[in-house]
């Protein structure tokens, strides 16, 4: 498709306000869990009349500077394992290119409905597996009353850190252990492929760094920002080369998201790592529902099941979109709630300490 033939929309005040808001909420979630705030933006822009490829390109163009700012911020808090981030980021770049190729192939063979079905099915499969895993882990921690305790390294991660026959290894200061290079390749590749498919590689990257490599969840979420930066920069170059980036859209979203991402990053200093899992699981489960209910629409459009009435199709699309928005809002509310309660608890602690000193 020739970029010059694409329509870069006129931005109205309403559109700008909406993008600023969605950008802020998305940034808040990304700053906290490292990813997961951008998936609403592409459909949101498309609903304004932005062509699909321009929406994807502009979304990616706002993601890499956002991830850069957040990664620097969380690096200051000591949350980032730069080595793991760069290594996974490079293999994620390969996964992204491969994922984009698969997407293109499906679109050529089955058209838009096939492409949409593939994306939704990928969402459902990945979120059903990874989301359930994260949710079960968070629930178990809650039931055991272990939400305040230090995180345990999983059995799988211990095996990965100790296995000797997987070839050369490198030291991860996040995991405080040596990790085989070979294990990082499929994780990075899957993260990139998922990012190219559903725009949120972190749904695989963060849990994999935590459960497979053994990084604490707080560090996994921050390290994901380094991966997001590398992937985002690569994606922006690719789409920019094609002339698909609408810089106005990208910078408007960035304007809102940087306010959010700073706040989300500050939030991580007040909460227990358990909260990262809670936010991630809540978003994943809601997005899973959102994508699952739309699948029959695409199956119907492909003629693989009986035709669904137009009114039902429109209704399902609306419901699906708003559940997605709700997923983001729920995540943002949990982040804000945790931040406020964490700040209050910290202020009370400081006040009590000051009183003790005065009494002494």
């Amino acid at each position: 498709m020739d970029a010059s033939s694409l329509n870069f929309i006129d931005l109205t005040v309403g559109n700008v306000a909406f993008l600023l808001f969605v950008g802020f909420v998305g940034g808040l979630v990304s700053g906290f869990i490292g990813s997961g705030g951008a998936f609403v933006l592409t459909p949101a822009m498309m609903s304004m009349g932005v062509p699909g490829i321009v929406a994807v390109a502009s979304n990616i163009c706002h993601k890499f500077p956002k991830a850069l700012v957040a990664a620097i911020k969380r690096h200051k808090y000591g949350h980032v394992d730069l080595r793991v981030g760069i290594i996974l980021g490079l293999s994620a770049e390969l996964g992204m290119l491969y994922g984009a190729g698969v997407q293109q192939g499906i679109k050529t063979r089955l058209g838009d409905a096939g492409s949409n079905l593939y994306v939704s099915a990928a969402f459902v499969v990945v979120l059903a597996i990874v989301g359930t895993w994260v949710m079960v882990d968070a629930l178990n921690l809650y039931r055991r009353g272990a939400t305040d305790q230090e995180e345990q390294v999983t059995r799988l991660a211990r095996w990965v850190q100790n296995v000797q026959w997987l070839g050369p290894r490198f030291y991860s200061h996040g995991a405080k252990a040596h990790i085989p290079w070979l294990v990082t390749l499929p994780i990075g590749f899957a993260t990139g492929m998922l990012a190219a498919t559903i725009a949120v590689g972190g749904f695989v990257g963060v849990p994999a760094m935590h459960y497979v490599l053994g990084l604490p969840s707080m560090m996994a979420s921050a390290t994901e920002l380094v991966i997001a930066f590398i992937m985002g920069l690569g994606g922006t170059i690719k789409f920019g080369w094609g002339g698909y980036v609408d810089l106005r859209l990208a910078m408007v979203i960035l304007a809102g998201s940087l306010f959010g991402i700073q706040l989300g990053a500050i939030g991580t200093t007040y909460v227990k790592p358990f909260m990262v899992k809670v936010v991630m699981a809540a978003i994943m489960m809601l997005v899973l529902v959102s994508r699952a209910i739309i699948i029959p629409v695409y199956l119907s459009e492909l003629g693989w099941i009986e035709r669904i009435a137009d009114s039902t199709t429109a209704l399902l699309k609306q419901v699906s979109f708003w559940i997605m928005v709700a997923a983001l809002v729920v995540g943002a509310v949990i982040v804000l709630g945790s931040l406020v309660s964490g700040m209050r608890a910290h202020a009370s602690e400081k006040a009590a300490q000051a009183q003790d000193i005065c009494e002494d």
Partner: protein, 71 residues
């Protein structure tokens, strides 16, 4: 000093966004060029992230929302 820096960065950010929309037609034209013109959106994004990133950090700081100091 904190306030002066905050206001200076705020003014720069406002200026950057003002220019983005004042030269909207040129921005769109350059973005659509493709090829090596990809450097334009990438470069602009870096510049915006530097100034706006610093500004938003100071914004929450000025409002009293600061990271918890580790002991």
């Amino acid at each position: 000093m904190k306030w002066i820096k905050f206001l200076a960065f705020g003014a720069i950010v406002a200026g950057l966004y003002g220019m983005l929309f004042a030269f909207e037609a040129d921005v769109i034209r350059l973005c659509k060029q493709g090829g090596w013109y990809f450097l334009f959106p990438v470069g602009v994004a870096f510049v915006f992230s530097y100034f706006h990133g610093a500004f938003t950090g100071m914004f929450w700081d000025v409002l009293g929302v600061q990271a918890k100091q580790s002991k």
